[in-house]
Subunit: 413 residues, 2 copies
Amino acid sequence: MIASIITIGDELLIGQTIDTNSAWMAQQLNALGLDVQRRVAVGDTREAIIEALDEELKRNDLVLITGGLGPTADDITKPLLAEYFGGSLVMNEQVRAHLIEIFSKRNRPMLERNMKQAEVPDCCTMLFNKLGTAPGMWFEKDGRTVVAMPGVPFEMIGIMQDEVLPRLRQMVIGQAIVHRSIVTVGEGESFIAESISDLESMLPPHIRLAFLPDAGMVKLRLTGRGSDELRLIKEVELRRDEIAERLKKCVVGLEDLPMEQILGKLLVSKGLMLGLAESCTGGYIAHRMTQIMGSAQFFSGSIVCYQESIKRDLLGVRRKTIENHTVVSEEVALEMAAGAIKTLNSDIGFGITGLLSGTSLENIPVGTVCMAVVYKEHSFSKRFQFHSDRIRNKELAVTHALLCIWKFIHNTL
Amino acid sequence: MIASIITIGDELLIGQTIDTNSAWMAQQLNALGLDVQRRVAVGDTREAIIEALDEELKRNDLVLITGGLGPTADDITKPLLAEYFGGSLVMNEQVRAHLIEIFSKRNRPMLERNMKQAEVPDCCTMLFNKLGTAPGMWFEKDGRTVVAMPGVPFEMIGIMQDEVLPRLRQMVIGQAIVHRSIVTVGEGESFIAESISDLESMLPPHIRLAFLPDAGMVKLRLTGRGSDELRLIKEVELRRDEIAERLKKCVVGLEDLPMEQILGKLLVSKGLMLGLAESCTGGYIAHRMTQIMGSAQFFSGSIVCYQESIKRDLLGVRRKTIENHTVVSEEVALEMAAGAIKTLNSDIGFGITGLLSGTSLENIPVGTVCMAVVYKEHSFSKRFQFHSDRIRNKELAVTHALLCIWKFIHNTL
């Protein structure tokens, strides 16, 4: 079974909204062994939606639609689908009761247009939306399936998990898809490709290799297809292990995890608490570390010191160090890291200071970032020069910060 | 002129990567008055790419392609485009010199497959990529234009800005598109739609209204189309002002800015420095505030206090307050906010503490978040109950935190 995803909404075409739904949906379908072949985004117009439906249904057995189900006038998908599948809208009592409950809980008046959200085409199975007001819809016609869901991400996720994925699981028989990843740091995509080119060319046709470069890292992904899932897993993992062995100098993990999670695991395994002193990254490293459930086990906290006085008063950076080396220097980063250990009572300290945007200061070019890690008598510091805008320089600084802490622990402890 | 965007890469179809390129490209095209009619994502296979190209070229005058231009074996777009437009690959000396320079700067050996990146189809205009190794390509055929660029976001942005947008600007004549926004907080989409339904129904056909709900806020967007840009701007702004006047109780701004920027502007206008004490949000509020260039003008810093001892030692939260009210309480949030003012030497302090995931603690249900703002003798605190997973609860906590600070300043100062 092959699927298409259609996302509806002018906001996607003028770039006001970034589409995170499609990626999540594709992951879920993939886990079931369903291939997503195309994703199409169209605007809130009748013609565009019908055209996209016609085309994708010609091509694939399953079409998932998100968006266009809200209570306002720019949302036209529901009546259009009713018409497309030859039905009409009728009041659904379960949805109506749910709506009344939601509005009374929120203490809001219920409007005519809200009540309209309880109308469902009589030619579909209603998919209950416990987290919102717009129900999902499951249509079947000529052996093809069309599922429509609201575009609000957590509502779509709720309906997928409760209603859509269990139904799809039942429908799917046969083909398994297995993904295995290798995460590497510090080498370029070409270098890695070259070092494993013989292994790549020996891959059987049902196993594909993809390279996914990211700031400072390259992820490799092996994708295998076959009917016998257990055998396929063994086969793909054998290939993965061969490649990982060849690349062992730069492999940080065999799971496609974010770098903060790879670092978190290492900290836990060493029984270390990490404390941060963040200037230019403004709390972003701390935010990333605390995305992980249970991060209190290895993360003490962060001093986001956006003013020089805080670096001195809270972290004990010496005025002299700043005068001699400027505030963006490895020396200041080292004192910040040492200060983070003391102030946050942690085992390992990390300090980062830089100039992400604006104009050069005291001979420090824009894009300069200095970072340092300290653990007992060990320390490491490094200066980087980035060349992009503020947002990307911050992103790069955080990626390199996480790598820097990981490498320091891995190599010295 | 109407455009399609094609993004190429298996990683987009299995959900490994979230597509941020399309949104950015659509914004840029829109600013030129170019409409994006469809966005299609396809995998790294010959058939899928050719099919998508055929279809979108049948439909639209301009097709922008990203992805599939890297040095590894999964990237097949370049030879395919050469063939599609009836040309062959030839070495481009400018790109070759650029590649040699990049590799010598990075002190890396240059491989055969890197050199291949300097090959460009002889039937296109090469678009120089100063930020990376893969050049962009500009093809023209039968009055249609196809532009191919690498998928790495900052490289794509560089090529768009330097090469593609100036060329498109030259090509565009005539129609203008004008967008104007209204940002509201605290009321639901239906309520807002109802209060302005008469104004909405009076809109002329060339001006459209869209509602974009987000956590705690609803953005309204008016889009006008016409030949006389200045007149169109006046017309759209008149409609916007009418609507904003009607909704004035919940309008926070007339620009489609992120909430942190709206808050930043308010802080600057009042001459206030903000200091944070973040427990459950783990530095995310600080990260958001420091995304803004020049945030040092209104942001002192944040104490990310992921351990109870830091709340006590650094922020002066009393042991008794924690014992009496538990660590997730408005009382603790108030003391954290007051502590942030002192420790970070700021004018206004904000504290936030909560339980985003895991299991309930001492009768605190998962999803409970308490926040407080303090300014001199004024203070405000509030308890929230969220119902989602860790990541979304954190997102919601930050949105409400920014709104809470904004409202406090707006209403009391």
